[in-house]
Symmetry: C2
Subunit: 129 residues, 2 copies
DNA sequence: GCGCAAGGTTTACAGCTGTAATCGACGCGA
DNA sequence: TCGCGTCGATTACAGCTGTAAACCTTGCGC
């Protein structure tokens, strides 16, 4: 009935997001594989990763495809959508919805390097085809 | 000893941020005044605003200047700093630290209107003095 | 066949957040 | 002077988050 649970439904938390990144990078990984990537540097245990994966499955952000007695996990929502959503939230909250204000702020606060500026300029030119 | 508790120390939450906006807009307001602004639309009670103000004072983000038997609240951290911090966090988390990537994303996802693009272009020109 | 390793599921639990209600002091008007 | 409204401070409490440990099942190696 519902188109594949389209609504990004529940918010993905920061910890969960770390897991998502691993799955976006390569889908169909086991919990252990995800842990290998995400647990190094960050000081997490496999148990933690399992919890996060479960929660993500629950909230419909990740699919668990049975593979023998374990699961292969894959993202169900696209990174684009997540990133877009988060960005929009920020722009909404801090810049009254004006993305240009964000850019202006980044520029003025020197968060943008010369190269960034070059890059953006090139981008603009391109967008204006 | 410490320069006026410079470190943005503790994170400001979303609810607290709403209060900060009111104080940034006009400092030296009473709890009731803040509530008047922030409680309309959002369905908060004065009690809630008081709690948020207390927490902000605790975490050094807001000053409470005694005025008779009440306080006038003023922001201690600048909006610039907060906005900058939040923006940086986002860019870090979602765009590997590249602000240009953010802009690229906004552009491609059509979050930027023609006028936005114009605005940004003008900005760039200006920055390049 | 049996025990261990590996998987997932359930339970745990402290700290943070949102959202208040309650409490105790105090000044003001009747 | 007495009570009431107003203030900040204290306490509350449920839901969310981060971070696991404990538990239960099952396939695999010996």
């Amino acid at each position: 009935m519902n188109p594949p649970d389209n609504h990004p439904s529940e918010r993905i938390t920061e910890a969960e997001h770390a897991v998502m990144e691993v799955l976006w990078d390569r889908p169909r990984q086991t919990a252990a594989e995800v842990c290998e990537v995400v647990c190094t540097g960050r000081d997490w245990s496999l148990a933690t990763v399992k919890t996060l994966l479960s929660r993500l499955v629950q909230k419909g952000a990740v699919a668990a495809e049975p593979d023998g007695r374990r699961f292969l996990y894959s993202p169900l929502i696209e990174r684009e959508a997540y990133v877009g959503g988060e960005s929009r939230r920020l722009v909404e909250r801090l810049f009254g919805g004006s993305a240009a204000s964000l850019v202006a702020h980044l520029a003025e606060s020197e968060a943008l390097s010369e190269e960034d500026l070059d890059e953006i300029e090139a981008l603009l030119k391109e967008l204006r085809s």
